[in-house]
Symmetry: C2
Subunit: 256 residues, 2 copies
């Protein structure tokens, strides 16, 4: 029986692509590539810092990834402009269906488990329309490692008192889906980029937008051997009406 | 005093881009994107498997990354074609200056430390023109983790009996440079893509080749706080003549 829905934040409830307004205003014409490389490196750096045994919180990782990104482009912002761009990660736009979807998840506990530092998550979630529907916003920070390190996922039981088998973990991020599934959660994947659409976009032999390359690398299910239990195309599909009887079935979408 | 040069294999001595002949022959017109996504995912998967505590050797990682890559493109090779493509990683072309550069590193021990599985490295190095110059080809496999996990770098002292401070570690891979430097090696970075050239390539607002996006993500120095001691633009610059006196100076390139 599912007792808690635990959702990823960056890319799942909040749209990381929404930084593009800030990146493009800061460096007109370069917003697209900054946005994509920045996000690629932000996650790479979270994995590498964890692996190197050199934990730094996600704010540091986010800023280092931005330093790399602007560096390869030869862009040299003032300290203030750099800070302003970095702050865009604290003001991401929630997906349009996120609040309604969370509101519809009645009869279960609802929490966030995120790589974000406590301060980032406070800024991101605290003032968002999602806040009223979230019981607990859990940062991996006390564990001094990032997802998909299993220690990050242990926080759910420690904070909510629910066993892994009682959790439906929701993420759009392939690495997170694999890590959560390996850890023992039930996992729902939010698939926002249909594979056939992506294949069509990539089918040409010509050049690609940076965002197409990003979609190729980071929006599909990983081939790591830990597929999700359920795939839905939007958060709103999570909020299916409870089935009859005592237990709430995970969600209505067909199992794979 | 530097007593050993320890070199990375994939991307440093051997050109990972050389799989493109195989990928393009298998799926004409798609070779470029397959080559780039495959390599991106190969390293991502090595990091993620390590982080998840789910070590699989680099051959498994390489095949899983290929599965992902062909999957997002909607390509469905026969089992035999899949195997043939995967095998391309066992027949990479050495960089043209690799053998001569290794030959020029006299008076020091010379070894490889690679993520590759023992079988992959046997296939790759054993039949290559580099073999005569390599005393030991060290796979991370016995440690059941991948670079930049510090345990991978411990193998150098265990196998060669040289202290980290006596090692010049050579890599073109940013994550490997950061990990090796944090571990305590002296580190020489092979910089094959000048930052200014990359910035010029990325400066336009139009679409990019997949290889340009790869270069943007994986050929530059990381902003992880562990810069290399020395940067050279090719392997041949490593083989500077020994300085006068007893000790061999690291190499002739200017320290940063």
């Amino acid at each position: 029986m599912i007792r808690a829905y635990v959702l990823d934040a960056y890319g799942t409830l909040f749209d990381v692509q929404s930084v593009s307004a800030v990146t493009d205003a800061a460096f007109p014409g370069h917003g697209e590539i900054i946005t994509q490389v920045w996000r690629m490196k932000q996650l790479e750096y979270s994995w590498l810092c964890s692996l190197m045994g050199d934990y730094q919180d996600f704010w540091s990782v986010t800023r280092r990834a931005l330093t790399y990104t602007l560096g390869i482009l030869g862009l040299q912002p003032s300290e203030r402009l750099f800070d302003d761009i970095a702050e865009a990660y604290n003001r991401l736009t929630p997906y349009s269906d996120a609040a309604e979807a969370l509101a519809g998840l009645t009869g279960v506990r609802r929490a966030i488990l995120s790589n974000g530092s406590p301060a980032m998550l406070q800024a991101l979630v605290g003032n968002s329309p999602l806040a009223p529907f979230i019981e607990d916003t859990i940062s991996v920070d006390p564990k001094r490692c990032f997802k998909p390190d299993p220690r990050a996922y242990e926080l759910v039981e420690e904070r909510l008192g629910v066993k892994p088998g009682e959790v439906m973990f929701v993420s759009s991020n392939g690495f997170d889906i694999a890590g959560a599934k390996r850890f023992g959660f039930n996992v729902a994947r939010i698939s926002r980029v249909p594979q056939a659409d992506l294949a069509a976009e990539l089918a040409g032999t010509g050049p690609l937008s940076a965002s197409a390359f990003y979609r190729a690398l980071r929006t599909q299910e990983e081939a790591l051997g830990y597929p999700p239990d359920i795939v839905v195309t939007s958060l709103s599909e999570l909020a299916a009406p409870p089935t009859q009887g005592g237990g709430r079935e995970p969600i209505s979408a067909a199992p794979r």
